[in-house]
């Protein structure tokens, strides 16, 4: 993981390269960033991106904290929080709206603090747009939270879900608000990842998403059951087939090595995610059984004629109810901190694979153009041999045309390769930092849980001593 201090971002982008198509629109924007390193604190380039306050945004607390601190060492001074999920409307046409609150000093935003209301499909729409615009140039687009038809329908069909703490035994209402909380947290992480990306963060669509007070045009193409959704599904299948059948002639060992590394990382993370979910599940079950034990002790207490012992047993029952809640909280810690982090990274790895695949497609284009060029050259040679000056001239023109295309495609390929390398390096650093932060946070939370357990048992001890 070479993290060499790099020059300000994108200074290597050749602004005179007019042959690039849509990238050019952003060339000036990109230049702006590099000319004003003070503005967004980017000095040593993106390699120093530190996600100190990311733990806060990955925080599990079910009443989401509004983060007040803005770390000064990050490359982008922006913090986004997603709060107050509210169900709007009733029945099948209802949806959940989230308040997206941004606090920033970035100059591209007109204010320092602002908030808007967005619904889930708006987030997906944003993700779609970013993908359309930047995947081709090799950017790793942070994945959007998954759609869940089951979860969403349940939400629509039940009466307004409580957005409060999951307290007490796991009921269906608890599971519901868990769903909402998971989604809220995932949306928040998504936005913050985009906000930290040097290129994506200054995208106008992103800006509009955060700033514009108006409702965004309903992104119907993102809905799973729409026509566009179906089309996307077909395309995905086609892509998958392509991924399997086309074997690229890899000239750059870096890519091959990275691809392998990414695969093994994915496998590891999947296993870890499984282990974590298993642990969370066992703890949840333990909470249920603790509840049963508490009830049994309460009955026992009722049947005991010896007053002090009866009192003590009733305290045992209370204690176990408290412990039941503690177990639930521990389970939630496992789940919300560690498990969700792993899911995010599996998603990001998915995006990385997408970007690798884009590169393959670009390579395909290049090869295709190369083949066409060769064919045209052959045509010209043939025409000259058979003494057909008109055909020869036509072929000569085509040759020029295809030579240009080949050159452009090659440059596109070089560019995407370069960008991907940069993106991956950036990602690797962030990955390590985030993993570190997540594990530290996880351990901290568990430490707090133990402190809580100590308090509960400490409170019980005098009750036990007071028997007789």
């Amino acid at each position: 993981m070479s993290a060499g201090p790099d020059t300000p971002p994108f200074s290597t982008v050749d602004i005179n390269n007019d042959s690039r198509d849509d990238e050019d629109i952003f060339a000036s924007a990109v230049q702006e960033v590099s000319l004003d390193p003070e503005v967004n604190g980017a000095r040593e380039g993106l390699e120093k991106v530190s996600i100190d306050d990311t733990p806060a945004s990955i925080s599990t607390s079910l009443n989401s904290p509004v983060m007040e601190e803005i770390a000064t060492e990050r490359s982008n001074n922006i913090i986004i929080t997603v709060t107050e999920p509210q169900k709007i409307g009733e029945g099948m046409s209802s949806y959940v709206a989230y308040r997206v609150f941004t606090k920033t000093n970035m100059p591209i935003f007109s204010k320092h603090e602002f908030a808007v209301l967005r619904r889930f499909s708006d987030f997906l729409g944003l993700h779609e747009k970013l993908t359309e615009k930047y995947l081709r140039s090799g950017r790793i687009i942070p994945p959007a939270p998954e759609k869940s038809i089951v979860g969403t329908t349940k939400l629509k069909m039940t009466s307004t879900p409580s957005t409060e703490n999951v307290n007490g035994s796991v009921s269906s209402a608890g599971v519901q608000s868990q769903f909402v909380e998971r989604r809220r947290a995932a949306l928040e992480r998504f936005l913050n990842r985009v906000a930290q990306h040097p290129v994506l963060s200054i995208d106008p669509d992103f800006r509009e998403f955060l700033e514009s007070g108006m409702d965004l045009p309903k992104a119907t193409s993102t809905s799973a059951l729409s026509g566009a959704g179906m089309l996307r599904l077909f395309n995905k299948v086609g892509e998958t087939v392509n991924k399997i059948t086309y074997r690229m002639d890899e000239a750059d060992p870096w890519f091959e090595e990275r691809a392998v590394r990414v695969e093994t990382l994915e496998a590891c993370l999947r296993r870890l995610g499984g282990a974590c979910e298993a642990l969370a599940g066992e703890r949840r079950e333990l909470a249920v059984r603790t509840h049963d034990a508490a009830r049994a002790h309460a009955s026992l207490s009722g049947a005991d004629p010896h007053a002090p012992l009866s009192r003590a047993l009733s305290h045992v029952a209370d204690l176990h109810e408290k412990i039941e809640n503690l177990r639930l909280e521990q389970s939630n810690t496992d789940f919300f901190i560690l498990s969700e982090h792993i899911k995010d990274y599996l998603g990001l790895i998915g995006s990385i694979k997408d970007v690798f695949h884009e590169r393959v497609k670009v390579f395909q284009n290049w090869q295709h153009a190369q083949m066409q060029l060769t064919k045209r050259r052959e045509n010209k040679a043939k025409a000259e041999l058979s003494n057909r000056p008109d055909k020869a001239e036509q072929a000569a023109n085509e040759i020029i045309e295809w030579e240009t295309k080949v050159e452009r495609n090659q440059q596109e390929f070089d560019s995407i390769s370069r960008v991907i390398k940069k993106e991956i390096e950036r990602w690797e650093e962030i990955r390590v930092d985030e993993l570190r932060a997540t594990l530290l946070h996880y351990l901290e939370e568990h430490m707090k849980h133990q402190a809580q357990a100590i308090r509960y048992w400490d409170a019980f001890l005098p009750e036990a001593r007071a028997i007789k």
Binding site: L269, L272, A275, A453, A464, R465
Partner: protein, 427 residues
């Protein structure tokens, strides 16, 4: 060797030997389950303990070691080897002895049951392919620890049973106990064949029908006993429920502990693919989870030991107390029958002078009366004592439980704190 009469706070229970990975044939310096509060005389005239135990295939062989100053015994110190069935045989001899009808007979120890452990080990073996070598070894270690704990527990229960008998002023004089402790050959207690088991089942069934039948036909003259009966019935069923629930809770708690194995193994795997600083970090994190697992496991087994086992023991004791009440009712029925007999004899021999029949009936009635009174008095004492014992035992167990849980929670907290410190310094 342990004092069978001990009520001191210097209880070996405070050191939890469960953690020792000792081999199966081991020194039974095991925690004593219950202090014997029956006897206040701190005499050492009859000291019994189980100095060794061996588990082979389906059987467990206990080495019963006795040290005595009583003249009834041939030697002053001796050893015999006994199996579980022989303990049951001994218990049954006390149960069927009419002289002890008014006493709460210490419940027989439960049969050594390693089925659960064996099954888990088998399942582990079957699922071996799905685990890494490291995970497999750790799980195996956990199961072996569990097996050891179960083993120690069964030894302790057999020991407590004997010690309670040996400390009891009346029970210790029983000839069957002497035979049990001294006789070097195997006792005639054959392993319970099918007929025996069915016999046992029939016997326990008749006891219950006895309860119901007697309860219905014999009016109890004494409020105290009526109260006791209903109290014990209810209490027993609540205890049973509580035992079941706590058992389920502690077994799940063990599973939570085991789930950490996979977690730490996955983190270790992740570590091997990272650069040195991150690798160190992850390795350390993985170690933390491993240690955490051990502490959680200990929390679970202490809950089992202090809470579940206490409940379980008193459930069995309550059952034994109920048995006393049943025996008393039977005795009462016999007394009432003798009364009726006397009346009948008197009625029949109204005109006969000094009839033999009546005299016999009178004698019979007097005996029955005396027996009943004696039994009732003893039973009353025993039941009051049961209450006292129960309260004291629960108190002790709950205090110890709380102290142990606090200790474990503190060590977990400390573990996390230290780990966080080291981890933050990493890289």
């Amino acid at each position: 060797m342990m004092d069978c009469v001990e009520d001191s706070s210097q209880d070996p229970l405070s050191t939890v030997p469960i953690a020792d990975p000792a081999p199966a044939t081991m020194e039974t310096k095991v925690e004593k389950k219950k202090p014997n509060e029956n006897v206040s005389l701190a005499d050492n005239s009859l000291l019994v303990d189980i100095s060794d135990a061996l588990s082979e295939k389906e059987k467990v062989k206990f080495t019963v070691h006795t040290k005595t100053t009583l003249p009834e015994f041939q030697k002053s110190e001796f050893i015999v080897v006994r199996q579980h069935e022989e303990f049951v045989w001994l218990h049954d001899r006390y149960e069927e002895n009419e002289e002890y009808a008014g006493y709460i007979i210490p419940p027989a120890p439960p049969r050594p049951d390693f089925d659960a452990s064996r099954e888990k080990l088998q399942r582990l073996g079957e699922g071996e392919g799905a685990l890494t070598r490291e995970e497999f070894l750790k799980m195996k270690e956990e199961l072996e620890d569990e097996y050891l704990a179960t083993f120690k527990k069964t030894v302790a229960m057999h020991e407590v049973f004997l010690q309670r008998l040996a400390a009891h002023p009346v029970f210790r004089r029983d000839s069957h106990l002497r035979v049990f402790l001294e006789y070097e050959q195997d006792l005639c207690a054959k392993p319970r064949g099918k007929m025996d088991l069915i016999g046992g089942l029939v016997r326990s069934m008749t006891t219950t029908t006895d309860e119901i039948y007697l309860g219905a036909t014999v009016r109890d003259v004494n409020d105290f006993f009526e109260q006791e009966t209903s109290f014990l019935q209810e209490y027993y069923s609540h205890l049973k429920e509580a035992v079941a629930k706590v058992d389920r809770m502690t077994s799940k708690h063990k599973e939570v502990a085991d789930a950490h194995i996979k977690l730490s193994s996955c983190i270790t795997q992740l570590a091997t693919r990272e650069q040195p600083p991150m690798e160190r970090f992850l390795t350390k994190a993985s170690e933390t989870f491993d240690k955490c697992r051990k502490i959680e496991g200990r929390m679970a087994s202490d809950q089992d030991l202090k809470l579940a086992d206490t409940l379980r023991y008193y459930m069995r004791d309550a059952h034994a107390a109920k048995a006393v009440l049943v025996r008393r009712l039977r005795c009462l029925a016999a007394y009432e029958a003798a009364n009726r007999n006397l009346e009948k004899a008197r009625a029949k021999n109204k005109d006969v002078h000094a009839p033999l029949e009546v005299q016999e009936a009178e004698q019979g009635q007097a005996e029955a009366c005396a027996k009943f009174e004696q039994l009732s008095a003893r039973a009353r004492e025993e039941l009051i004592d049961f209450r006292t014992r129960r309260v004291a035992a629960f108190r002790k167990s709950l205090i110890e439980l709380a102290e142990l849980e606090i200790k474990h929670a503190r060590s977990q907290q400390e573990l996390f704190r230290k780990s966080l410190q080291v981890l933050r310094e990493c890289q």
